[in-house]
Point group: none
Chain length 117, copies 4
């Protein structure tokens, strides 16, 4: 269930995991799947790198956002007010969708609308 070496089951034991790890170490063994453990390790590294890369980008954008707030503050605007404006504008469409959704749900619950219509 953990390392994609083909032996994973929902009830994979710790010993199976350690075996898989040893497999990575020794480069030896029963690797019954098309994937070798070395491949699994490389896959793991690749995923980690991709995630970390994306998180960097995300952080950069978050910093940009903070910068905009700082700039606005420097222009005399109240940051808290600005945040409220942003939040409200985000909330409004969501809430409209919510209203429509609850209405639809009720129409279905009352048998007045086909469940997949």
């Amino acid at each position: 269930m953990t390392l994609p070496d083909g032996t994973e089951t929902p009830t994979a034991t710790l010993s199976q995991l350690k075996e898989a790890l040893d497999t990575v170490k020794d480069g030896k063994p029963e690797a019954p799947s098309p994937y070798t453990n070395g491949v699994a390790r490389d896959q793991l590294r690749a995923f980690v790198e991709r995630i970390e890369r994306l998180e960097e980008e995300k952080k950069a954008i978050a910093d940009d956002i903070k910068g905009v707030y700082s700039e606005a503050k420097g222009c005399g605007f109240d940051t808290k007010a600005l945040r409220r404006v942003i939040a409200l504008r985000k909330l409004d469409p969501d809430e409209r969708a919510e209203q429509e959704a609850i209405l639809d749900t009720y129409l279905v619950a009352l048998g007045m609308m086909p469940e997949h219509g």
Copy 2:
């Protein structure tokens, strides 16, 4: 998917439905329209009230918990560590060991941990 009393409410209008919803919401008892079903409506209102009552109680307890953490913090304890302690006590030891084993496997695969450490 009809109302629990078996009646199939016919083609009611949107506004009538909204009115029925408002009735639930505001707790106004009278909805004389032939399209609304009194029994179902009362049942619905009862369920809503019971749930809201329980959620209030739940919130009160949640606030109490926060209060205890605050008090602990005021006594010099590290809140974050406290939370981890509570969480660990909830986990059964096998499960916890399993999770740690998986984590270690990954850390070793990434060279973040000695293979026999």
Copy 3:
């Protein structure tokens, strides 16, 4: 910063913590504060017990809520619809508060309202 033995500082070191732990173990030492480490330990236990007790209560209530939803479902109501009703009723007051809050914030930001009025 961690154990309330009077020595805690924002820069408390690991060694200080271990020392405190040893203090608990040996029952010996320099405990310059009115609190002994035994007291700290007992405090810790007391906090943990209080929190766990409250969390049990909270869980019991959460289970009650689930029970009500189940009961409603048994009566033919759509659980999802019920949840939407509850959510909407909760949302409404919050959103009204949000509206007023943003307005107040703007009044302050525009200099038309005292900041603490």
Copy 4:
């Protein structure tokens, strides 16, 4: 706390303020009232737009990250462990050791861990 152009907007009414807010919200350019300040309003709108643009980008990247986790899961990796790996790599080792030390201290104090384990 006045608007950044120094003007002290006099006693505007609530409705005028709401109108100003709506102007920002809807992007309607004309607000001919003498009580609204065009420069400040345009600045405000520009800030809001920049922030919202950046938040969209941030959300897109967040979705990408979720996608990578999904992909990893599809390859048999344990998502939760992966997240912990990412988190651990972000922590500087000293800080991590410190946190673990505090946790261990508490665990020992509660008898959940041998004093020399």
